[in-house]
Each structure stands twice: as C-alpha cells, then as structure tokens.
Symmetry: C2
Subunit: 368 residues, 2 copies
C-alpha cells in the first residue's frame, strides 16, 4: 500500500492515526503509519513538551505528527475564570441537576482539573511553539484553516500542514491559505464533523483541490475494506481516529474500564452528532448524557469555547465514575466494529492485509 504520501513523509503505509495518546501515536509510527498526537487535552505547555520528548525517544526515529485545534475566527479568549462569567447560571444548574439524576458522584475533594483550554486560540499557538522544539513532520488543524502566520511558521521549519474539511469549499479555502494536505472529514467521523458523508465528500474534495493536493479520507475507516474504498474515491491516504481507542496502548490514557465497556458493546447506530461537547457539531457515543441534552427541558448548547468549559467538570466527574451508560466520548460510527482490544501493531497489520485482499477481489470483479 504505497502512495506519494509514503515518500513525502518517509512512512510505509499512508495510514494517519489521530489519537490523544502518545503511546498509541508512537506505536502507529513504529508500525509504519503516521501517529498524530492530539494536543487539545494539554492545558500545560510543559505537559505537552514531556509527551513529545517521550515520543522522540519511543518512535525508533520514525516520523510523527501533532494535531492542534485552532479556529481561524478567534472565539472569546481569556482564562477559564474570566470565561466562566459568560456561562448562564441556568445552564450550570441544569448540568448539576442532570448529573444528580444520572447518579454521577462529585469528585473527591481536591481532585479534578481545569476545563480544557486547548480549544482556545492562544493555547493552540503555544502547542505549535512547543511542537516545533521536537521533530514532528506534520501539524494538523482539527478545526478549519490555521492562521497564515502559523502555516508559514510550520513551513519555515520544514513541516507539512494539514487541515480538516467537511465541505469542498472549505478545502479550497484551506489550500488558498497554504495548507498542504486536506483531511476530508465525512459525516460518519467521530468528533467535529459536517453533513456530507465520505462516499460523496472524498471525491468532491479530491476534484475540488486538484491532483497536486493530497487528500486523506476520514470518517468510517476501521478496516482494510474501508481503506480500499477511500483510496478508490481518490484519497491518497486515510485519517483514522476512533479505532485506536480500542488498543492496548490506549489503556495508558483511558484510566478506567468504563470506556472499554462502552465502546465494545456499541453498534454503528449508537452515536449522535451534537453541539454539547464543544459548541460545534461533533459526533459522540450515544449515552444517557447525550440523551439528557436531547430532552425538551435541556438548554441549548453554548458557543465554543464556553460549552466545553460548562461541561468540563461534568466530564471529569463522569469519567471518574466510569459508568459506561453515561460516558462522554467522541467516537465515529465505526465504533460498531470496535469489538475487542488489541495491540496497535496487530490492528495495523490487519488493515494492510485486508486492503490487499480487497484489491485482489476487485481485480476479479473487473476481470483484470
């Protein structure tokens, strides 16, 4: 499985793996793909620096990438204390009452951490600055075109820049601003996603940006058949995310069994696209928590970055409780296929083998 992207990045397979875990990212890179560490969870630059140092030491010299969240339009800025004042009291009250109803206990005294500030522009810029002290080969932006000066900063350091797009017009705008690689994020994907499904979106974006701009197919990809489908649609590689939650290496980050129970039993019908995680539409596992927000009495989600601050403490409490019925987890429709926990290297080997078998099957159908 070789495309031009393999040569561009010095990787064996054009399989890009987005993950918040440095253990997963490093294992993907060691297995011949490109592990991409999601930075949004790092509130503290030193924490990210430490994770990237660990990756430098544990990737056998193989390339890796980092992913930041940098909206082009700068939303409300400030510390979490400043920003809290914009959150209506009724919203806070509803969240507290809902957690009580769902049986989610408070955190033990002194535990818990600040709301995720990675959604803030200033924080994302510091993530880029830290990353450039290490040896990533790719900076991806999970939310629109990065600011042009950041793109130039990355290019000057010899990095490629990727950006997610949910519609052809966004992809064209990314390219006009200097983005090198487009991640075509289909409706079925976990996390922030648009309305157009991969079957239509990938070829639409491939044709919109032209053959000089590589496109990665994203959304619904968790098997070699799906990689073959995405490359048939014109992608030069694939961008995967959800499936890496189901790996042994991810257990270093997950912290409890609730997550595993939740995604191991879920089917492809058990996700929902909602604004309750960040303020923008994102696909999550369907649980009692997402269902509560869909009730008639629930408040409308707040705009980014306020919504994530509103629910940050709730997420801490839910995660600490480990209740799989309530868990708050961004995940794509491919969750229906995450039915066992395996080592990253084994998942990678299966992706490649099934891709090859699929192409041979298509040869038979085409009579080649």
């Amino acid at each position: 499985m070789r495309t031009a992207l393999c040569d561009a990045f010095g990787i064996d397979y054009p399989i890009f793996a987005f993950t918040p875990s440095e253990h997963v990212a490093a294992a993907v890179s060691r297995a011949g793909g490109l592990g991409v560490l999601g930075c949004v969870r790092f509130n503290d630059a030193e924490e990210l620096d430490k994770a990237l140092t660990w990756m430098d030491d544990n990737t056998d010299g193989k390339p890796y990438g980092v992913d930041v969240v940098m909206p082009m339009k700068i939303p409300t800025e400030g510390t979490s204390t400043d920003l809290s004042s914009y959150i209506p009291e009724d919203h806070k009250k509803w969240v507290d009452e809902t957690l009580l109803k769902l049986g989610v206990p408070p955190l033990p005294e002194g535990e818990g951490r600040e709301g995720v500030l990675g959604w803030l522009h200033s924080m994302a810029r510091s993530h880029v600055d830290v990353a450039l002290q290490h040896r990533p080969v790719l900076i991806a932006n999970a939310l629109g075109t990065p600011p042009v000066d950041v793109i130039e900063q990355c290019h000057a350091a010899g990095l490629k820049v990727a950006a997610l797009a949910g519609a052809p017009k966004h992809a064209v705008s990314h390219v006009a601003n200097g983005v090198d690689i487009i991640v075509a994020q289909g409706y079925e994907a976990g996390g922030h996603t648009g309305e157009i499904a991969s079957m239509v979106l990938t070829p639409d974006i491939v044709d919109a940006v032209g053959q000089d701009v590589p496109v990665l197919g994203a959304g619904g990809i968790g098997s070699g058949r799906q990689i073959a489908a995405s490359l048939a649609l014109g992608a030069q590689g694939v961008w995967t995310g959800s499936i890496w939650l189901g790996t042994e290496e991810y257990r270093n980050l997950a912290g409890n069994q609730g997550w595993e129970t939740a995604f191991l039993r879920a089917t492809s019908s058990d996700t929902v696209r909602t604004r309750i995680y960040t303020g923008k539409p994102a696909r999550l596992l369907k649980t009692k928590w997402t269902e509560a927000w869909a009730d008639e009495d629930a408040p409308a989600p707040l705009p980014m970055p306020l919504q994530n601050l509103l629910v940050a403490d709730a997420h801490n409490r839910i995660n600490a409780s480990g209740d799989p019925d309530v868990i708050s987890m961004p995940v794509g429709q491919i969750v229906g296929r995450m039915n066992e926990v395996r080592p990253v290297a084994e998942v990678m080997a299966d992706l490649v083998a099934e891709f090859e078998a699929t192409v041979k099957k298509l040869d038979g159908i085409a009579g080649i």
Copy 2:
C-alpha cells in the same frame, strides 16, 4: 464488472437503477444494468399496467424490476377523503399560507391529481398484482420487509425480492422473513434513509447477513469511483437513484425545466434529511420549501401516510410552477455531481469505464 448478481439476473453489470420513469428504467436495462421502476406515483392500477406493457415492449427482452412501498406495519388505511379528516386544520392552513409566502400560484381550475396513495399498503399490494402480470425479475420494497405472503407470492412467480435497510438489524430481519437481496441504504441517499453512512453501513450489513445474501450498496453512488468503493466494502452490486434524474430520458416525466435548473446548480451541501415528504425521514433537495418547514413556526410533520396527503396538493402546485427555488425533490448528496443532462447509455458507459480505471489505480497502490 461482473459479480454473481450478473448471472442471477442475466445482466451485464451489477448496476441497479431505481427510477420513477419507465423511459429511464428501460434505457438502463437496454444498456446492461437493471432498471427498476418505482411504482409509488401510480394511483391507478391501469396506469401502472400501461407503463409495464410499454417496458415489456421497449427493453429488447432485457430484464427489469419494480419497486413498491410497503411498510410491514400497516399504517392508517382508507381513501384520501377518509384520511383527510385526520389532518389538523392548522397544518392545512400553515401549508396554504406558506405557499402564498413563497409565491406558488394555485393550480388552474380542474387540474391537479389526488394525493399519492402509493404509500398505502392496499395500493402497494395492487402494484405487486399488476407487476406479476408482466415480466419483472425483481420486486423491491423501499420501506422495510414486505409482508411474508407477498414475498411468497413473488417467489412462486420466480421473482427475487429485495428490501432496503438502513441498519444491520433491519437487514437481518428482512432475511429472516425471506428477502433475497438487501439494499444497504446509506445516510447520503435520497429519499427514505437512516443515520448510518455507506462507508460504515455497507460492510456492517454484508457481515450481518453473511456471504450467501447479496447486498447492494446504495447512497452516494454516481461515478465509477463510488461503485469501486461500494464493491470494496463488500457489496455485490450498487443501487443508484438520484443520478438518473439527470438524464435525457427522464425529461419525459419531469415536465418542466425547474427540476433541471434546481439539481444542475445544487452542491453536495444542498440536501436535507426531513420528515416533511412522507412522515418518515427522507433526504430532499434543500429549497425554500424545506427551509420553511424548518422554521420555528412550522408545525411538526404528521405520521405516514398523512404527511404526504397533507403536502400532495402543495407538491402539485410547486411542480406546476416550476420554480427551482421552491421545488420539492427527493435526491441524495450525489446531487452535487449532477451537472449536465446526458443520455442513460452514456452515463452507464462512464460508470463502467471509471470503475475499471479505478481498479487499475488501486492495483498500482497495492503493488499488484
């Protein structure tokens, strides 16, 4: 492009084409695919009989299919006059006022036709009876499992039965009731559709029903690249619909230029999944009509079959006006690719040629 379905049906390509036009269906069958005539628009059994007689005479002896709409759970039955009494006056008033706001004129005195009764169970049964007087090779049900006695009736006449499924559990239930072929209808499809996109749904259904049951991939398929993707996902053929609206043969049915203008300019972002057409979620072109129903002041859509009766006259008026800004048209996200009107035979030839070129490209990537 040959799979086992080609032998089962005596067709050259496993490309199934759903269309309400006998002219399109016959042209697809003549070009080596399987044209499937949608019956829902025929209120009158004699009208359908005439269309099928025309198809018998204009398919060069090639096989064709018919598609009926037969919900397994029988909804409210009766004549359109009886059923009208279930429709709230406020709904009727809102529709009238909305048409006035959108500038849709009333029909000339004496024109217009009765609401579409094809959504009624009794009407769908009469469609099957009429079809069996002709020579279809396939009866498809666009809405769930057909009643078991209808499946047996078709099997006794030597026909295969297909049914649409938007989730693996529905596919498994179809097969348990005797359905021969599953149409995996992805989120991106036009008309009635579920939440799971083709990239995930097709392999989910293929694996759920097992290798003895052929699956057709449906939703988002309008090019040879998309056929290759669908077959890579495990489908034995594809079920297409929207793209045939963009053919010269369809002009026999369309009646005015409004439709063409509307879909030629639409992008893949210009559809919406809504209950306003039939009472069940279906994907339509996004127009001022669908936007009006999304307004806060709009009433909630009624259940099937009442919603279609409520809007039937509005659809007649909108279609007669031919205003592309208001048109009410079921269509999939592939509408973004329908940018010129061509003969059916030319579309078919392109699908086959691009499929072959795509498989050769995948061979290069796989190093075969």
